[in-house]
Amino acid sequence: MSASPNALAGVRIVEFGGYAAGPHIGKMLANFGATVVHVESRARPDGFRMQYPPYKDGHPGVNSGGCFAYFNDSKLGVTLDLKNPQGRALARRLSLWSEVVIENMRPGVIERLGLAFDALKADNPALIMLSSCNMGQTGPRADTPGFGSQLTALAGICGLTGERGGLPTVLYGPYIDFIASTLGAVAVLAALERRRRTGTGARIDISQYEAGLMFLAGPLLEYELSGRIAECSGNDDPHAMPHGAYRCAAGGWIALSCWSSEEFAALAAAIGQPQWQSDACYAALSGRSNAAGVIDAAICAWTSEREASSAAAILQRAGVHAYPVNTMADLFIDPQLVARGQWQRRHHAVIGDQAYCAPAFQLSDTPGEVTAAAPLLGADNDKVFRDCLGLSESDCAALREAGAFG
């Protein structure tokens, strides 16, 4: 038989927790073939199921939420009552069956559930467990609860978004959670590599805060070296001029930038300002910055008469950095994203067809894909507990009777 088409086929992952920071790790790995079991309880389903719109036809319900679905495609969904001793015993069995446990509950909770790393390791010596929380498992504020949308502010990113001297600006959703989930997935794969090589497991402690700071490593080092405190600067950049977003026809916007005098000359020709090419004042960045008002006004006059997509095409042909400012709706018709299959529609029993986000990278030999729509609450109890854990029908019936499945 030839090689499996899935890079991560055979990797078994169990997730305890909810929202974005934990489950998004499993989603990314499931898209490359890992078997990922998402554990919830009927009493407390994943918070993304009920607390965040949009819902199918506007009706909130445990199985009608697009937000939950978006981060849990390609997974198996089970329910367990973790307050029930037999539910906890099953959670433990699942953890022993798996190679990787991912949890993003508050520090201490997983231990109280009897699923502490050391307790599991005794029976699953090569277990990899990743814990992700706001502050990490240790330190004076380890027990801080929190959502990523707010943590993004603590990590300095919101304060670096906005016009000069204005209010900080919201970044949509829990921005920092996705930094932590992406870096967390990197750590899980690194641990799997070590496990393959040495047979040892790993305990991975992800502070979402610290993960987010990796995306500001430069400004943090600059402060360390020079004392300069980075501030928000609208769309300006110290190394390019022009560098900004400009209003176009039909309500659109275009982002464009020039990084050299040659590129600026190309822009000048493209937008009907050839006299700028011979004007020594505009040759250097400083000169263009001094004339920002004139330059921006001329660009605006040109872009406002064109749709963003055609303006961007003209400028790119001239050798100028430019792209339409895509709205969420535009993302579904962006020719580049469409050509690369960014959105993969899968059928969900309640939501119907939903567009799921494909991986951000393509592998030439073992491509990733959205293998299935997100699971309904507890949809895969039978499959997971019978097929994966080997419980008999009568075992399952007894456990159901005892309330283990939540």
């Binding site: 991560l8 697009g66 750590a187 305990r203 991975i204 900004g244 916007w253 339409p324 709706a329």
Partner: protein, 378 residues
């Protein structure tokens, strides 16, 4: 965890973070730079620390020959290029795999190697536009904004590291390397949370909302996120759910202890309050006394009280606030390495604690190997 893994990092700014993440997890990363390329900026140093600098002139045959020699013994090659450029031929997976069938070639480009815009130019600004992120940031009627510190490069680099290790897992079974084609545009879409689903399921397009959050109330009410405080701003949102209503109750009790006017908060039953059902008038009445109260507290006070009372919310930190945060110091986040002029530099350490320890940075940011000749002996 990646001990012994040999990585050749031929990236520009778009891909620097990928090698940094792999290096921090234990890989041996050689950072290839042209003979006179600038390697002293804070940005370069921050994202290339823990890598070994190797100077190679890839525009010359001797440099290309040396690259091939290094690629023959490497596990992963990271490169940033657009299709149709000379670099695309140099870093072509087909060419390199003939030298080393196990080599994983990670190609990081603005839009990926295929598609009608694969050869388009993009810096961080255009990538933030192309991914949709800018449409979600800024004032509702104002200009769409990027984040002032470039982010799309980090999203691309992080996904590139993920792609490299996914291909490494495949190689463990197949014995063969493959090409990883990373689109920075697609990588940055990850930053949007579930915003695209509104188009798909509800037929609506989320837009930027300044310092407010929308999309939580069935009646379209918007909630304030950023509030001026005595020395900057704090982030606090009227949330629902167990943690959200507890936060609100705790805030009210803090305000009461301080003797702050409670206004509409006096009548509020925080345990049953549901933000998804609130109207804008109700939200405004609740937020007014909170705004007055927050204007009297400092960021540090807010952080301490939020922690003590288990309130959801954080101050809006600057890099200076972050540098002084005791939580980060207690966890050994900052790592000292030797930088230029043998000066000690404090860098962000590895992003994770593994088996109870933060893997140390082992290579400083000061250029070591000044020429290919020196490198060849290492």
């Amino acid at each position: 965890m990646l001990k012994g893994l040999q990585v050749l990092d031929c990236t520009d700014r778009l891909g620097w973070l990928a090698g940094r993440l792999l290096a921090d997890l234990g890989a041996e990363v050689a950072k290839i730079e042209a003979p006179h390329a600038e390697v002293h900026s804070p940005e370069w140093r921050a994202l290339n620390v823990n890598k070994q600098l190797v100077r190679l002139d890839l525009s010359r045959h001797s440099g290309q020959f040396e690259l091939d020699r290094l690629a023959a013994g490497a596990d992963i090659l990271l490169a940033t290029f657009r299709p149709g450029t000379p670099e695309a031929a140099l870093f072509d997976h087909g060419r390199l795999s003939a030298l080393n069938a196990r080599l994983i070639v990670v190609a990081i480009s603005p839009f990926g190697l295929s598609g009608p815009k694969a050869s388009w130019l993009a810096s961080d600004l255009e990538l933030m536009a192309a991914s949709g992120a800018m449409s979600l940031a800024g004032e509702p009627e104002g200009t769409p904004l990027r984040i002032s510190a470039p982010q799309s490069y980090s999203w691309a680099g992080a996904q590139a590291a993920l792609g490299a290790l996914t291909a490494l897992a495949a190689r463990a079974r197949t014995g063969r390397g493959q090409r990883v084609d990373v689109s920075a545009q697609a990588a940055t879409i990850v930053a949007l949370a579930h915003a695209p689903t509104f188009v798909d399921i509800a037929g609506t397009t989320p837009l930027r909302s300044g310092a407010f959050v929308t999309g939580r109330s069935m009646h379209g009410a918007r909630y304030r996120v950023f509030w001026p405080c005595r020395d900057g701003f704090v982030n606090f949102i009227l949330y629902g759910g167990v943690a959200g209503t507890r936060s609100l109750a705790q805030l009210v009790s803090w305000m009461r202890e301080c003797g702050a006017p409670l206004g509409a908060l006096t009548q509020l039953d925080s345990s049953s309050w549901d933000p998804t059902l609130a109207t804008q008038a109700e939200v405004d009445a609740l937020e007014s006394p909170i705004a007055a109260f927050f204007s009297t507290v400092t960021k540090r006070e807010f952080l301490e009280q939020a922690h003590r009372r288990e309130m959801l919310g954080y101050p809006v930190n600057t890099v200076a606030d972050i540098a002084a945060d005791p939580q980060l110091a207690a966890r050994g986040f900052w790592q000292d390495v030797t930088g230029a002029d043998d000066r000690i530099e404090r860098h962000c350490g590895c992003f994770a604690i593994i088996d109870g320890e933060r893997p140390p940075l082992v290579v400083g940011s000061a250029p070591r190997a000044a020429s290919p000749e020196e490198t060849q002996s290492t």
